[in-house]
């Protein structure tokens, strides 16, 4: 059976692989300022086109145009620029720390800094974020001391996860940052549950949920949208489409058949597709969604269209599966460079200040790292006492864990 009239199995793949010359001209990128901005109380049905377009505010000259321009002041923008630069410097340093054996693992968000940074500033500080491993910018934007974050990565005595979690699996309740999970997608419906609880309590805090393009294939993505839709939960659901899931292109998650933002339509939820490398656009879309949620107009799904410039993690070498210069050719640029250009054009920034800022954030990171390393790195304490591994399985330790703790305590060197 191989003739005419027989079926064929479609196998999607990446457009470009090592050796190919990436050409992104197939992307239909509407010009900045083209997308209309519906009012915050618009019915979902009136927002449908946003799911297929691309909210952009910064044009090629760095000028902010159109209805989505959030009109932020220079101070606010400089704050965003600095946070993004700080995140990037932090990532660089921690990536190197892994190469030096000070942590077994690290994950950068290079190229995607605008997404979590701008959204965090568009939320209130006590809104609860259910993040994945590429939203370290949330913590940074909320002023988490960097040495505390590094403590988690080094698993030293500062680590709030007490040496238990993989590096970058932060938890920071006081900063509105939910305990991160290594299991993809699980946090997405949990964010909806938190938002439902807030609504149940007649609170004013909303939740934000985060997921990747790849992870959106999990059932939990649907669970989140079903419950968010049915209960009109006050939640901003973010899907970061950075084109890749480890070595798999977004097409493997369905991204070539429709936009991810359009997944929202079938649930009666607005889906907004935004240029994730345009700080102002991300801020504006996030603020729109947050206002909707906070005024009882329900959830929004935002697809952040961006590019994973970094390797998936320190365990991975993207040269094995993607064309070398994709990031350079990515048509939506670098979010830091674009925001810088905008500020420079607006007369609020210049190269000198920028260089000084970069030096300053690098110094901040280096100082924090020195403080953090003084408290121990992976494999080289001081760490939490290994016997604490029996804590927190339950609120109260049952007999079997007590017995096991005693057994370990009695072993020479407490080792296997």
């Amino acid at each position: 059976m191989d003739g005419e009239g027989t079926l064929r199995l479609h196998i999607p793949g990446a457009r470009f692989r090592p050796g190919d010359r990436p050409d992104f001209s197939y992307l239909r990128l509407p010009p900045a300022g083209a997308a209309p901005r519906p009012p915050v109380d618009a019915p979902a049905i009136a927002t449908r086109d946003l799911a297929f377009g691309l909210v952009r505010t910064l044009d090629d000259d760095g000028v902010a145009v159109g209805e989505w321009n959030p009109g932020l002041g220079a101070d606010e923008l400089v704050r965003g620029l600095r946070t993004m630069a700080l995140v990037r410097a932090f990532d660089e340093r921690m990536f190197r720390a892994q190469r030096q054996g000070k942590t077994p693992f690290y994950m950068k968000c290079t190229g995607e800094e605008a997404v979590a940074t701008a959204q965090t500033y568009a939320l209130r500080p006590d809104d609860m974020c259910f993040a994945t491993y590429r939203q370290q910018a949330i913590l940074v934007a909320r002023g988490t001391p960097l040495d505390e974050m590094m403590g988690q990565i080094y698993a030293n005595a500062l680590d709030p996860t007490k040496g238990r979690q993989l590096p970058v699996m932060y938890t920071a309740k006081s900063r509105g940052y939910f305990s991160q999970s290594g299991n993809l997608a699980t946090q997405f419906p949990q964010a909806v549950g938190w938002a439902m609880a807030s609504a149940y309590r007649r609170d004013t805090r909303i939740a934000s949920g985060w997921i990747g393009d790849g992870a959106s294939a999990e059932g939990d993505f649907h669970q989140a949208l079903v419950f968010a839709s049915v209960h009109r939960a006050p939640v901003v659901l973010n899907l970061v489409n950075n084109q890749w899931a480890i070595s798999s292109a977004q097409s493997v998650a369905g991204g070539e058949e429709s936009t991810f933002a359009s997944r929202a339509i079938g649930y009666g939820i607005p889906g907004v597709r935004v240029d994730g490398n345009d700080y102002l656009a991300v801020f504006a879309a996030s603020r729109w969604a947050a206002e909707r949620a906070r005024s009882n107009h329900g959830p929004t799904l935002i697809e952040h269209f961006t590019y994973r410039a970094a390797p998936h993690s320190t365990s991975d070498d993207p040269a094995r599966y993607r064309a070398g210069d994709e990031w350079e050719r990515w048509p939506l640029g670098d979010p830091i460079a674009r925001l810088k250009l905008h500020l420079v054009r607006a007369g609020a920034w210049d190269d000198g200040r920028h260089s000084a800022m970069l030096r300053a954030v690098e110094a901040d990171v280096a100082e924090a790292d020195a403080r953090a390393q003084a408290l121990g790195v992976h494999g080289d304490g001081p760490h939490h006492d290994p016997l604490t591994m029996f804590d927190d399985v339950y609120k109260d330790m049952p007999w079997n864990l007590r017995e096991q703790r005693d057994e370990l305590a009695a072993l020479p060197g407490r080792a296997t």
């Binding site: 996860t161 309740k173 439902m196 079903v226 419950f227 927190d392």
Partner: protein, 337 residues
């Protein structure tokens, strides 16, 4: 005090908690207006409002995920899973999330949620309405698992489960809802009326998780059981005339190891009974623990009477069910050694 069957006792537990704690919410499939397919939530929506007791989409994973999020906020949600057989779509959320949350967050967050599910066989439900999956959850640290055998315990244990700060699986032997059942399906059904455990206080009381009950004192051998099998074990003890001590575990995690050890050291013999399939079931853990801790007291091998290692076959319900004949035969075997 009031006469209650198990459905009413569970309903009363939910009612008491809804009335007493504004952080308690109840949701699940058909639990709202209708009151649940087994009527456990009957009248609760009407009494406490549809914001407190409501129908959930048929999405067990989502229900548990949403409950975890609510728990992280500070609520105490109670989720009804319509049948224990349908808990598997939520397995990842239960195992990777609810069970791990306190640990992985170093204690910052926890999941004070209760998942109730009608459970076990005896109603010709076939393989998708009869399962006893407690063994799976017993292997997942961070979870507690409760299985009541009578109305009094059901209410007191459910209240404890809801008040507990850790995630609790609460399995309700559905064959016991209306009355005690000892496996004698050929006899007329019995109701909880007149049973001492059918007298249930109307207000709040709690039975601590992790404490077994001695359902029958005896000196010849120890039978470890929970749920429906407590009644089967009691019947088998009477019918064989062996002076068995029947321990109703009530909570399998945390387990009342002290009660088990004390009994087996006294009797020197032990039989484990559950309805779940045998291989890898919780009976294996019980057998291993007793053997490890009471080896020198044992006069005979510890035997297990369990469901066969097959799915629960609808029409062969009574050939599958570990009833008093099978338990009785095992008692005799253990005593013969």
């Amino acid at each position: 005090m009031s006469r209650m069957n198990m459905v009413q006792a569970l309903n009363s537990a939910l009612d008491v908690k809804l009335a007493g704690d504004p952080d308690v919410l109840v949701f699940g499939e058909d639990v709202g207006f209708f009151g649940g397919v087994f009527r456990v939530t009957e009248g609760l929506q009407q009494r406490h409002g549809e914001g407190r007791v409501f129908d959930a989409p048929i999405a067990e994973a989502g229900q548990v995920a949403v409950a975890i999020g609510m728990g992280a906020y500070g609520l105490r949600p109670v989720v009804e899973c319509q049948f224990a057989d349908y808990i598997y779509p939520a397995f990842d959320q239960i195992v990777s999330e609810a069970a791990r949350l306190r640990y992985r967050s170093g204690g910052e967050f926890n999941a004070p949620i209760t998942i109730r599910a009608p459970y076990g066989g005896g109603i010709f439900g076939g393989q998708t309405h009869s399962q006893s999956p407690e063994g799976l959850f017993s292997h997942v640290c961070g979870l507690k698992t409760v299985i009541p055998s009578n109305p009094y315990d059901a209410k007191g244990l459910l209240i404890s489960a809801i008040e507990d700060d850790d995630p609790v699986l609460f399995f309700e032997p559905k064959r016991l809802y209306a009355g005690p059942f000892d496996g004698h399906h050929e006899r007329p059904a019995v109701s909880w009326d007149g049973h001492s455990k059918g007298d249930v206080p109307t207000g709040r009381y709690a039975i601590p998780l992790g404490e077994a009950a001695i359902a029958r004192e005896g000196g010849d051998l120890t039978i470890l059981a929970y749920g429906t099998m407590v009644h089967v074990a009691l019947a088998a003890a009477e019918e064989t005339g062996i002076d068995a001590e029947v321990i109703d575990l009530r909570t399998i995690v945390p387990l009342d190891i002290a009660a088990i050890e004390a009994s087996v050291r006294k009797t020197g013999r032990c039989l484990v009974v559950h309805e779940a399939t045998r291989t890898g079931g919780f009976g294996a853990e019980l057998s291993a623990l007793v053997q490890e801790r009471c080896f020198h007291w044992l006069e005979a091998p510890i035997l297990r009477v369990t469901g066969w290692d097959t799915p629960y076959p609808r029409e062969f319900e009574w050939e599958y069910f570990p009833g008093p004949q099978r338990v009785g035969a095992a008692i005799r075997r253990v005593m013969a050694e």
